[in-house]
């Protein structure tokens, strides 16, 4: 009888990457098409990171919100099993409701397992507008959630109409809000943010007392410098900045 025989399971730790995607009417057309295309392309990269990572398995969950909220799957799926279903854009921007829905799943009765054996999740919010519902109340609920407090939170503002103050409130810092002005930049930033968050979020050790969110921000910032049409939201708008979605 050995202590570590096959009777004893040692599962890999889990890191869940959440996509929270605005599918309101203003996202219709090339924006939502770019989001669909970018996520489909990034999934194999996440699968690779997960397969090569001895520390953790990466799982993916996606919440779309317009007038209502909808999870693409009823549970987080391993990256290699997550088949992206293209989302369609229409109607309003119920970000407050999305926050409450996210809070309900950031729990052991929802999508999360025991805190032991889990890494804090990474949450990527994509939006091109302003909430049309009671965002403050939704965010207040979410901010009480321990998983949310510990999460890596990054927002992608799609175009200048995105309410960056709202996105800053969501991430907790304007440095974690990245603005994109065209389709190529949107696709590239989704890839960079998803890959970087997964790489850093699923590692056991952090560099000193720097938080994982700070590490993600630093890496994405340096990548943004090389993406035309993308910028850190807090930076002054460049004169060359413009929205080009067609």
């Amino acid at each position: 009888m050995s202590l570590l025989d096959e009777t004893v399971e040692i599962p890999r730790r889990t890191m869940t990457l959440f996509f929270v995607i605005d599918t309101s009417g203003s996202m219709a057309g090339s924006k939502i098409g770019a989001v669909n295309d970018a996520v489909v392309n990034v999934l194999p990269m996440l699968e690779e990171i997960s397969a090569e990572n001895p520390d953790a398995e990466i799982k993916v969950a996606a919440l779309e919100f317009s007038t209502t909220c909808n999870w693409l799957y009823s549970e987080p799926k391993p990256a290699n099993e997550f088949v992206w279903q293209d989302v369609q854009a229409s109607a309003l921007t119920s970000l407050g409701a999305a926050c409450k829905e996210l809070a309900s799943k950031l729990s052991r009765s929802g999508f999360m397992k025991a805190a032991s054996g889990s890494f804090a999740p990474a949450i990527i919010l994509l939006s091109d507008g302003a909430p049309t519902d009671d965002f403050e109340s939704g965010l207040a609920t979410l901010k009480q959630n321990n998983w949310f407090k510990a999460a890596i939170k990054v927002a992608i503002a799609i175009g200048d109409d995105a309410d960056k103050d709202v996105l800053t409130q969501f991430t907790g810092t304007n440095e974690a809000v990245f603005t994109v002005h065209n389709i190529d930049a949107l696709k590239q930033i989704i890839r960079v943010v998803a890959v970087t968050s997964s790489q850093i979020g699923s590692k056991s050790s952090t560099a000193g007392d720097t938080t994982k969110q700070e590490q993600v921000i630093a890496e994405v910032k340096s990548a943004v410098d090389n993406i035309g049409g993308a910028e850190v939201a807090s930076a002054p708008a460049s004169t060359a900045s413009y929205d080009d979605w067609d």
């Binding site: 009888m1 040692i10 599962p11 520390d55 099993e81 279903q85 054996g117 804090a120």
Partner: protein, 356 residues
């Protein structure tokens, strides 16, 4: 009810895989002692952040101070204090019995004094100065920050207490595991309460009772152990397997197995430092069939869940509920369920062989 009388203690620790890679010392410490008057076990886990650069010394000092305080406690507290008491838990915010408040206060003060004495004898190295130079006593204490779990059993009572994360798991007389000490919700993911907190005394939580309520075994493990197993059931299973070892292979062989297994567990699991300590009594020796039955029971529950999933998936395929992509995923799920069921079957067979 027969209460075990021959009580044994053990402890074991190892440097984590990630600490080996970065040449960091093992920041966990463990201690156990068996005397004619009592049996005790202690683990302490030094914090890993850069500001806690003396937490390896902090965890050792805390274990030593706790052992000393518990020894005095066992000698000084009248047996009637806990004798005949029911199993009682005291969580965060609950009123702590005065005698325990005094014990925990002595541990906190004793550790702070030990830290300042150590600091006085060991001036900062250049590396430590580059990290942070403590400006006052509290900042010094922070550099030694660590958690604590301890248990003691005497002929008349038992007691277990904790500050911070890590888990204490006990075994009932029927072999079923449970966590006897209430949890502190401030401990979440990599955040933990600590003996170095200014309000450390208010973060102690504990459980105790007369000897007739004593668990067969009490195991203490640092968060490096918990994080390797994820769900509590997997962690409980590890300790059940450990108890099976004590029951079947004996004390020496099982402690040796534990010492050899912890580095492997760190490599395959959390990569963190690991410490395990505990006490168990002679009822453990006759517990083997119950422990095997507990392990078998959880596998059978898993088998039922898989069978239900399989049936549901087949039903949906037959009634054409899926589009092409979903159907492909459903067949993948069925293949995975089948493989998992075969694996579970093998493990159940192995447990049956252990029973026979």
């Amino acid at each position: 009810m027969t209460i075990g009388t021959n009580i044994t203690s053990f402890d074991c620790r190892c440097q984590g895989e990630s600490h080996k890679a970065t040449d960091k010392p093992c920041q966990d410490y463990s201690f156990s002692e068996t005397t004619s008057d009592f049996c005790l076990a202690i683990i302490s886990d030094g914090h890993g952040g850069t500001r806690y650069y003396r937490s390896d010394a902090g965890s050792r000092l805390l274990s030593e101070v706790t052992a000393r305080c518990l020894t005095e406690f066992a000698k000084g507290v009248p047996e009637t204090t806990f004798s005949g008491k029911p199993y009682t838990t005291v969580g965060i915010g609950d009123t702590m019995p005065a005698v325990l408040q005094q014990l925990f206060g002595a541990i906190v003060v004793g550790w702070r004094n030990a830290v300042m004495e150590h600091a006085g004898q060991h001036s900062l190295t250049e590396t430590e100065q580059a990290l942070a130079v403590p400006q006052d006593d509290h900042e010094w204490e922070k550099t030694y920050g660590c958690t604590l779990i301890a248990t003691i059993r005497t002929p008349s009572y038992w007691l277990a207490f904790q500050v911070g994360d890590g888990k204490c798991v006990a075994l009932r007389e029927d072999g079923s595991p449970f966590e006897p000490i209430p949890w502190d919700d401030r401990c979440f993911l990599n955040k933990t309460t600590s003996i170095c907190d200014t309000d450390a005394l208010s973060r102690f939580r504990c459980c105790f009772g007369g000897v007739d309520t004593a668990p067969v075994a009490i195991f203490l493990g640092s968060d490096g152990i918990d994080d390797s197993f994820g769900e509590e059931e997997n962690l409980y299973n590890f300790y059940v397997q450990l108890a099976k070892g004590f029951s079947h292979d004996g004390h020496e062989a099982t402690v040796k197995d534990l010492e050899q297994s912890l580095p492997i567990l760190s490599k395959r699991g959390s990569q963190d430092d690991m410490s395990v300590a505990g006490i168990y009594d002679d009822r453990c020796q006759s517990l083997l069939p119950s422990l095997i039955q507990w392990q078998k029971g959880r596998l059978e529950v898993k088998m039922d869940v898989l069978s239900n999933k399989t049936a549901r998936t087949w039903a949906n395929i037959i009634k054409g509920a899926f589009n092409t992509d979903d159907r492909r995923m459903a067949y993948n799920d069925l293949t995975r369920y089948l493989k998992e069921k075969m694996d579970l079957n093998e493990r159940i067979k192995k447990l049956d062989m252990e029973t026979s």
